[in-house]
């Protein structure tokens, strides 16, 4: 496994001055570009309303945590939070499990229709979401009418939708990753009397943990931030955060400080998770997708 924190030096020689200066200037500017919105988000979330509805100021006139208290009562943020956790969590687990099975089949078996399968699944990445929003909605409603399984308006329908959004990328990445796990290992397991699934779960999956973490992070992020489908397919009780946040721009006034506070609260779980797992993500991409 390549370890990112120990770099592969480009050359034994020290880089020349021009490169060092380019690097310094470029990275400084880039950090500024990245940081400014993040700073605005954090600082505005600690400002009183007067500060954010008047001329912009870099420093708060008065630090306050009011926005962080008010966000929970202006909209039912806690409920949206729970909804998002359930939806994104379940979508991630399902998506990863299904992707593991599919990738294992494609990586380890030769079968008819393999090419059709991969092409079809991957080409769904091309579909404009707007094309199948209404049809999907109709389909869910009709399945609901025919079978009594409530897909529309329920968390289940949203989970189903989101898991397929991340599925193609996950399958694709895991195929690459599984291919990099030596075949001899699962052959040996098969000889030892494990079934194919035993070989998958005892040998291939443990060896592919970074890849699996990477696709989990990706799936979770996809589900956590989606707006379009969530706005049509949820109701008051199943609304997710991405849509629920719009509740802060109400009839009355735009509570920018609360919007920023809520945005931060909503972002912390994904950003923290992402940063904690980024090492796996890069390792997973290195061994899988980009090979």
């Amino acid at each position: 496994m390549p370890d990112l924190h120990r770099a592969t030096p480009r050359s034994p020689m020290a880089p020349p001055r021009s490169f060092l200066w380019f690097r310094r200037i470029f990275l400084t500017l880039l950090s500024g570009f990245v940081l400014v919105p993040v700073y605005v988000m954090i600082s505005s979330s600690l400002k009183p309303l007067a500060d954010v509805s008047g001329t912009f100021r870099w420093l708060p006139s008065d630090l306050t945590i009011r926005p962080y208290i008010d966000i929970w009562s202006t909209v039912p943020l806690a409920r949206y939070f729970v909804n998002s956790l359930i939806v994104a969590g379940a979508a991630t687990v399902c998506s990863v499990v299904i992707a593991v099975f599919s990738a294992y089949a494609v990586s380890r078996y030769d079968f008819r229709g393999k090419r059709t399968f991969t092409v079809t699944v991957l080409s769904t990445q091309m579909f404009p979401g707007i094309l199948f929003l209404l049809p999907l909605f109709l389909l869910y409603v009709n399945i609901g009418n025919a079978t009594g399984i409530a897909l529309f308006g329920s968390r289940g329908g949203l989970i189903l939708t989101y898991l397929t959004f991340s599925l193609p990328f996950s399958i694709w990445m895991l195929i690459g990753y599984f291919d990099s796990v030596p075949r001899d290992l699962d052959e040996a397991a098969l000889v030892d009397g494990c079934g194919p699934l035993g070989a998958l779960f005892r040998i291939v999956v443990p060896a592919a943990i970074p890849g699996i973490v990477a696709v989990s992070v990706y799936s979770f992020m996809t589900a956590w931030g989606e707006v379009l489908f969530a706005s049509v397919m949820t109701n008051d009780t199943t609304r997710t955060l991405a849509v629920g946040l719009q509740g802060y721009s109400t009839l009355n006034d735009v509570y920018w400080n609360q919007i920023m506070a809520a945005s931060l609260v909503v972002s912390v779980p994904v950003v923290a998770g992402f940063l904690l797992l980024q090492r796996y993500l890069v390792a997973g991409l290195t061994a899988g997708a980009v090979k």
Partner: protein, 329 residues
């Protein structure tokens, strides 16, 4: 992306001594059935959520599906090719608006993908060597990508406000670069506002992928080049960039498709009625469908968009793969 992967898969299978392993073992029938069984969940879900709705969408595009029929869309009259004819009649306002929106989207996508790739690659290469604060910087650079779209974009809306936004505060009040505060969320500048947000949000993905790609470049190549007397810049040009071409092929395509189809960013930035200068085709179609209630026309536009993307992807893969195929095999 599609072709690459299947090609790779095909290549993998072609390599001797791999494919025939499991096949010749006892219990052959179970084994033949197993891969299909493993694929079944993915297949059913893709069929349910993507393929069947798409077919329905295509059917809808041939119907006159306006507010008079949406309640009972099975009985909506067939419109034949009317929706398509209307969408591509570039002399009439609907077609003209679609064409304009399409061109805006193409320009936006090319610029955004180009900038994302450029910044991402430059950052990844700059951070190939260790230096103090490298880990911290990398974490920082990934933050825009990790932020949920809504949270990120709404922050930019806040910053782009005309009266109270940071952007005008800096450009006008502090640096005095403009005679008067500019508008970013309406009018012509909205294109640049959209581009800025899209690049801010998208470049870390390129950074991430290129960074991963750099890990796969064998160290010996650099050492050999260094022995030949090549400096850092030359090494970047002769080794780093060519070695990344396979990664770039996929990266650029993925970025292109995501940016082209992006709905969330313009929708959160501008709301339901995007300014003309930033009228991306995804929002345009959304408006045609949901705001003016003509789902038939909206579907027809989506199908046209899909055809365009299919052609672009096909041509792109054909062109970019030609030079590389011998190397791959």
């Amino acid at each position: 992306m599609t072709t690459t992967v299947t090609e790779q898969a095909a290549v993998r299978k072609d390599s001797p001594g791999e494919a025939d392993g499991p096949r010749r073992r006892p219990g052959r029938i179970r084994r033949i059935g197993l891969p299909y069984l493993l694929l079944l969940p993915a297949l059913i879900l893709e069929l349910l959520v993507h393929l069947v709705p798409m077919v329905i969408g295509i059917v809808m595009s041939f119907k006159e599906l306006t507010q008079f029929y949406i309640r009972d869309w099975g009985t909506a009259p067939w419109a034949g090719l009317d929706n398509y004819a209307m969408s591509v009649d570039f002399n009439a306002p609907v077609g003209e608006a679609l064409l304009h929106s399409f061109l805006v989207t193409v320009a936006f996508t090319l610029l955004s993908v180009g900038l994302c790739w450029l910044i991402g690659t430059a950052a990844a290469i700059s951070m190939q060597d260790t230096f103090r604060g490298r880990g911290l910087l990398r974490a920082l650079f990934l933050v825009p990508y990790a932020l949920p779209v809504y949270a990120a974009v709404i922050t930019w809306v806040f910053m782009f406000q005309h009266d109270n936004g940071l952007v005008n505060h800096v450009l006008h009040d502090q640096l005095h670069l403009t005679d008067k505060p500019s508008f970013w969320l309406i009018g012509d500048n909205s294109f640049y506002a959209l581009l800025t947000v899209s690049v801010w949000k998208g470049w870390p993905f390129a950074f991430l992928i290129v960074m991963a790609g750099l890990q796969n470049i064998p160290r010996e190549l650099y050492e050999a080049a260094a022995l030949d007397g090549a400096g850092v810049w030359q090494q970047i040009r002769r080794i780093t960039l060519p070695s990344l071409s396979a990664v770039n092929q996929v990266l650029v395509l993925v970025l292109f498709l995501w940016t082209f189809n992006d709905f969330n960013t313009p929708y959160v930035l501008f709301g339901k009625a995007a300014p003309e200068a930033a009228d991306l085709v995804s929002v345009h179609i959304y408006q045609a469908s949901f705001v003016t209630w003509n789902f038939g026309a909206g579907s027809a536009m989506s199908v046209l968009l899909l055809l365009f993307l299919l052609i672009v992807t096909g041509v792109y893969l054909a062109v970019t793969s030609r030079g590389r195929r011998p190397a791959d095999a």
